[in-house]
Structures are given as C-alpha cells and as structure tokens.
C-alpha cells in the first residue's frame, strides 16, 4: 500500500461517484419529503384532545428519537421478510428515514407553534375564527418562518446520514465508493472523494440556511416593531 494519490484513478472513478451522488441527493430529497409529512402526523398525534393518545404518540417519538438510525434500518429491512413482507432496500430506507427524522421535525414544528405568541390564539378566539381558519391564516404564516432554520438543518442532517443506507444495499454515493474501493483494493481515493463531495454539497447548504435564518430573524424583528 502506498499513500500516493493517483489522479488517473481518481478521474477514472469520478463519473461513477457522481452518478451515485444523484442517488444520494434523491434519497435525501424523498426521505425529507416523507419525514416532513410524518413529522406533521406525529405533531398532530401529540395534540389530540385524548390524553392517552398524546402520551402514546409521545412515547413512540421518544423511542424513535433515542435509538440509532442504523438498527432501525436493519429492523425495517430484515424484519419484514420474517413475516412475509419483503421490502426493497429503497423502500425500507425511505420508511426508516421518514420515521426517524419525522420525530425530529415534529419537535421543530412543535417549537414553531409554541413560538407563536399566545395572544394570537386568544385574538382568534375573540374574533370567533374557526380552528381551520385560525391555523391557516393566523398561526401557520407566523409559525413557518420560525420553523425554517430547524427544517433546513434536518435537510442537511438527512443528507449526511444517507451513507448509512449503504449498509442495507441502497446504491448511493458511499455504497459506490465502497464497491469501487473493494474492486480495485484502493480506498484512499474513493473515500476521500466521497468526503470532498459531501463538503462541496453540504457547506453551501449550511451557509444558505444560516443566511435564511438571519433574514428570517430580521423579518421577525421588523414585525415586532
């Protein structure tokens, strides 16, 4: 083994890795879309008029939040066949990511709803607005800006957790790098390039979110005055 970086090998595997990057981005995107809907369901499940349901959903959220994504992936992927339900790697990956990050997003949503001043709810009450109207026209427009930074962070979070999907055989970037590395028995270039691709994609995203956060804060500062 030598530590010399081989440019020709790096360029040879680059197209493969870039194609796999598309899969990574797709997995993150679909996973995020599912998670944002699941998060809403978890949120609603904790705000029902029935205390028992609220507590049960709360415990489920706590359970999912405090166990590793990796084992959850294995659980969803391997347990299905035991009972005759065979899920493809992609489907189980999307289910797991959706559930796991759904719990995190439900917390973000909850924080955002609680961030809306109580007087806003009371004013809606006083004006006799219906629940739907209250949410749609008064609460949601105010809660959404509060939720943006958190939602953005978890988009990047999902993106950075996609390499885990390679463990159940989803053909994303890390999976491709491992395959290429194993084939040529050279891990230096593939893994380093994966790291660089991640940096190239996630740093601008993080910077963008920070900018968004700042502008949201500014906009909210303005509305307060």
């Amino acid at each position: 083994m030598n530590a010399e970086w081989k440019w020709d090998f790096a360029f040879q595997i680059l197209p493969k890795l870039l194609w796999a990057t598309l899969n990574t981005i797709m997995a993150a995107g679909i996973g995020y879309a599912i998670a944002s809907v699941v998060g809403l369901l978890f949120l609603l499940g904790q705000r029902t008029p029935y205390r028992v349901i609220n507590i049960i959903v709360r415990e489920i959220v706590e359970f999912i939040r405090s166990t590793p994504l990796l084992i959850q992936l294995f659980f969803v992927y391997f347990v299905g066949p035991q009972f005759g339900i065979v899920l493809s790697a992609w489907v189980s990956a999307m289910i797991t990511i959706g559930l796991h990050f759904g719990t995190y997003l439900s917390e973000v949503y909850r924080g955002a709803l609680e961030g809306v001043p109580k007087t806003q709810w009371e004013a809606c009450r006083a004006l006799n607005f219906s629940t739907i109207y209250t949410y749609k026209r008064i609460i949601f427009p105010q809660a959404f800006p509060i939720a943006i930074p958190g939602m953005g962070n978890y988009l990047v979070g999902i993106f950075k957790d996609t390499p885990l999907l390679s463990t159940i055989g989803v053909a994303e970037l890390f999976h491709a790098a491992t395959a290429v590395g194993g084939y040529h028995y050279r891990y230096l270039e593939p893994y380093t390039m994966v790291g660089i691709i991640f940096l190239i994609l996630s740093i601008p995203a993080a910077v963008g979110i920070r900018k968004l956060e700042r502008s949201v804060n500014k906009a909210q500062g303005k509305t307060k005055q």
Binding site: N2, A3, S66, P68, F75, T162, Y187, I203
Partner: protein, 223 residues
Amino acid sequence: MSYFSFLAEHGSTLLLGTVTTLKVLVCATILYVIISIIFGLMRVSNNSVIQGVATVYIEFFRGTSLLVQLFWFYYVLPFFGISLEAFTAGVVAIGMNFGAYGAEIVRGGILAVPKGQWEGAHALNFSPFKRMKNIIIPQIFPIILPPAANLTVELLKATALVALVTVVDLTFEAKQINAITWLSAQCFGTALIIYYIISRFFLVPFLRWLEVLAARKVGKEKT
C-alpha cells in the same frame, strides 16, 4: 422459539456487546468534551489564525458524514502508515465529529455570557486567562448543558456506527445473531430496546442531574 428462550440463549452476547457500546460511549464523550472546549475557545479567540484553524476544523467535520469520517480513519489512514485499531478509530472519529458540534455549543455559551461580566472582569484588571477561567467558563455550563445533553444522546446513537468498522458492540452482536438465527425482530428489537433503556433511564437522567447541579452552582455563586 419464544422470545424468552431467545433471550436465554443470546442475552449474554448482547449484554457483552452493550458493555462495549458503553465503553465507546464513555471514551468518545470524554474526547468530544475536551475537543469541544478547546475548539470552542479557539473559535472565540481574537487571533485570526487560531480562529481560522478552529473554523476549518468545525466546518470540515460538520460538513462531512460521520460514517465517511469513520471509514476514512479506519481504511484510509493505514495508507499513510497510521493503523488504528477499530475501537480507537471509532472513538476518535466519533469524538472528533461530535467535538466539532460541541465546539459550536461552547462558542454559543461563551457569547451568551452577559456583557457586564466581561466588562466587570476588565474593570477588575483580570488577565484574559483568569477572566476566562474564573468568570466566564463557570457561567457557561448552565447555558451549554441542555444542548450538550442532546448532543450526547445523539452520540450514544452514533456509537452504533462503530459496528461497521468491526468493533464488536451491541449493533455488531445483533447483526451477528441475526446472520446466524434470522430472528431479525427479536435481535434488532432487543438491541433497540437496550439503546432506549440506556438513553431514557440512565443517560438522560444523569445529564438532567448535571444540568440541575450546574444551575444550582451558579445560583449559589451569585448570591
């Protein structure tokens, strides 16, 4: 095979794995706390070189995936003549990754200490070192502990990844048992429950206790 006979047969193996998981948790937590404090302090330094080094470190480790870093430490470092044992590689990768997140928390905590405290230390002619050590640092703990607690729970979950570089921890054992018996629901289910118990009944109460302790200490010093 009932669940109890499954536990009787494989429970001890899973518990052995749990011990390794706890070892990784403790070692990585110690490492991440040290790195967080060092880089958090560097991040608020007036020296732009020191600050720049810390920023690069933080952005690098937060920008790439933990799994990629872990594999890099384990499979790529040998190319440079540095062979780390799987356990060491796991602890170092997790510690350095979470240290980057922790450094941002420490930085936030330092900046959140009221300005009057800084000015007071200035007025009393404290040296920068003494100012940090005696005035600012003791006050950041109540501020940084809640987010640090969240991060530590995340770290517990991240320790599962070391199984992928052949550390024989709880996840690894669960995977092994699954490969032998194909009782996936039992072995992964048990592993999930063990992680849940560690986090919910041991780690989180301990961290809450630390938070209360830190808050009380500062409260005492104030009066």
